[in-house]
Subunit: 228 residues, 2 copies
């Protein structure tokens, strides 16, 4: 009853994130193989865009760094469009300082040396040597301008919590939002996520991306208030 | 003056493609590297969707086989969604017979053996061995159900007409629509194309994709009437 009263009687004050700057990355990155071909991670960008919108609705000044997607910019959000992981890393660095960063983008882990002209077929079967891309989460975690609340995402197909817990520790993030993508075509309208923190794991039921976004924005506002 | 009068006075009769079945492919294909990563060719799908719509507006029964894009289906078009080149080839084969086929899709030329689970980073830098995908244009050109008018697209960055002319001969297509993508981010709203035929090359000025589509639909209607 106390909880119900709390929920019904005292909605979060509007603008609890007023005066905060929050950085959000969203979408895939495209790593060129040649002028027409690329490597990418699957990502519709919708979860990140929804989070950017939810944070702005809580009053935050949101900078959304977006890979190549065809989505409308949420109201009140400042958007920076990028193509590759390197461009995204550069845009993130330029956006600092920020009170919080939510790295939702499905950044391509590898790039390859792009051919300047279209590779013709029938010239044998090429082999792509992949080079690891800059890791934006690690870059932020070790930055002198590290955001106070640093949140990474992890799309996992198996051992979801185990992998995401290891990722949190290794990367030095405050939270990892672990997204269970097993048996799922990405780009759907709902996500099953677990919030991995140092002290606990909060598992949410399968929710529409918009609700994942508003709930996460609420947690972020709670945490920035607590630690202010 | 005669031309002006012709253009103003006698618009193409509506429904010149009534009773014709036209197959259109559009968009990219995505070739999985693992459950979250893929290789693709850049393609917004917009030129192919516009062509499908323009053909339907001329009265054709259009089957549009679309790779992963987030575009609305044009009015009067039957749409089949696919992900990979192999799925697109299968869908094309099932759609035959057709009076004409317009292969606009930027099919990924290569695929790789997809890993069943997400490849972890930090396990060295993987090498992707690429295998050539089925060539849908060649498949149609050599099919016992070859469409009477077979049109391929070629995105070229250099020696546009030369490359496209060689492609037409090699593939056994009737026309190649050569798209000059040099210095262009694909996914723009306009295209500079050349229509490569056995007897000639018709070069069009840079046009909005919608106008490339209507002009091409007109040429297709002319040709199917001539050769009926």
């Amino acid at each position: 009853a106390a909880i119900e009263q709390h929920l019904a009687g005292t909605p979060p004050a509007p603008g609890r994130l007023a005066g905060r700057h929050v950085l959000v990355t969203a979408g895939p990155t495209h790593e060129p193989i040649d002028p027409v071909r690329y490597i990418a991670n699957r990502s519709s960008g919708r979860q990140g865009f929804a989070i950017a919108g939810a944070l702005a609705a809580e009053g935050a000044a949101v900078t959304l760094i977006a890979g190549p997607v065809t989505l409308d910019t949420p109201a009140g959000v400042e958007r920076v469009d990028v193509e590759t992981a390197q461009e995204m890393a550069n845009a993130v660095a330029k956006t600092l300082p920020a009170d919080a960063a939510v790295l939702v983008a499905a950044v391509a882990d590898w790039r390859t040396d792009a051919a300047p002209q279209k590779i013709k077929k029938g010239t044998g079967t090429p082999t792509l040597r992949l080079t690891e891309n800059p890791d934006i989460l690690t870059m932020l975690a070790t930055s002198p301008h590290r955001p106070r609340l640093l949140i990474g995402f992890a799309a996992e197909t198996d051992h979801v919590i185990e992998h995401a817990t290891a990722k949190r520790a290794k990367k030095g993030a405050d939270w990892i939002v672990a997204n269970d993508v097993s048996g799922d075509v990405m780009g759907g309208d709902a996500n099953t996520v677990h919030i991995i923190r140092a002290q606990d794991v909060e598992s949410w039921e399968k929710l529409p991306k918009s609700q994942v976004a508003t709930r996460l924005a609420t947690r972020i506002a709670d945490t920035l208030q607590e630690t202010a």
